[in-house]
Amino acid sequence: MTSKLFHLLEEDEEMPTMTINAIPELQLEDITLTSRLVVGTGKYPDYETMQAALEASGCSAVTVAVRRERLVDSQGRSILDFIDCDKYTILPNTAGCFSAQDAVRVARLGRDILEQLDNAGSSWVKLEVLGDKTTLLPDPVGTLEACRELVSDGFSVMCYTSDDPIMATRIRDAGATCVMPAGSPIGTGRGIANPCAIQLCIDLLKKPEHGGDPSYPVIVDAGVGTPSDVTVAMELGADGVLLNTGIAHAQDPVTMAKAMRLACDAGYYGFRSGRIPRKLHATASSPWDGTIAGE
């Protein structure tokens, strides 16, 4: 028996190595995302923690907000002192806007700042037009209006929306570069509240049999609380995930950023590996033949 066991081991060693392809970059028009995670820069306890978390997340694009007055922190430091503009694409958002008009104003202000930096994100905007302060859910009418105007003004629009599949197609049709359905409301950490809705968004936007285009980017945005939430989004077929609070408000933001990165990779590979179908009845993993139990 011993010699046969060794023989089997030798056979295993001679088996060809299976190769697993590296996760490809995500191309969004002129921006190349080397990571499928896009990470926000808000809510960190301090800039140093933010900087370390961004590094641990492996992201290549970060979101920022446009605000008055808080031009520097209490120590006279700007957030831009802690973001390597040669390394990260900076995506300004329109967070806090409750009308299409304000969102367009803020987008143009953000563009003006990034043009001074000569950053790749200068023609980009992460569009949010919110409906109210309690839910922070998007206002679909205002979102669509702002999206159309920004696209006509030359912006590449990454558009935050609810998980409504029909709305997702309307935003695509309005010219958005990328649709970003919410997993759950901003900052709630409730994860992918309605996986079926996200799946329908992805089907309509990406599957040719449903009028979609496989290359059209869908990035799940908002509500992510745990690494497994990121994995679920990616397993549904999303091209990426955008998150902020799930990392920034974790007890250990830097380690959580690393966990989110690994979870994103896991979901990417999981989706493309072809999961088994769900079944009602059990099927044994070990063979019935040869069992000595119950003889």
């Binding site: 808000g42 920022v64 700042i113």
Partner: protein, 64 residues
């Protein structure tokens, strides 16, 4: 009076670039809007603020 980021200042007229200098913002990365209209950074030097103008000066902060 000119309003800057919601606060009135005792000026009737001033060059935008001088206002930024007085606020120690000339070296800061920021964008400026006057009466809800963007003043591109390349046009700031020649832009004259007038009585009643409402100025917004913004920059980038952390956000999601």
């Amino acid at each position: 009076m000119i309003t800057v980021n919601g606060e009135q200042i005792q000026k009737n007229t001033i060059l935008l670039t001088d206002l930024l200098l007085q606020m120690n913002l000339s070296d800061q990365l920021c964008a400026v809007e006057v009466n809800k209209k963007l003043i591109p950074f390349r046009e700031r030097d020649a832009y004259q603020l007038l009585e009643g103008d409402d100025v917004e000066i913004v920059s980038l902060v952390g956000g999601g």
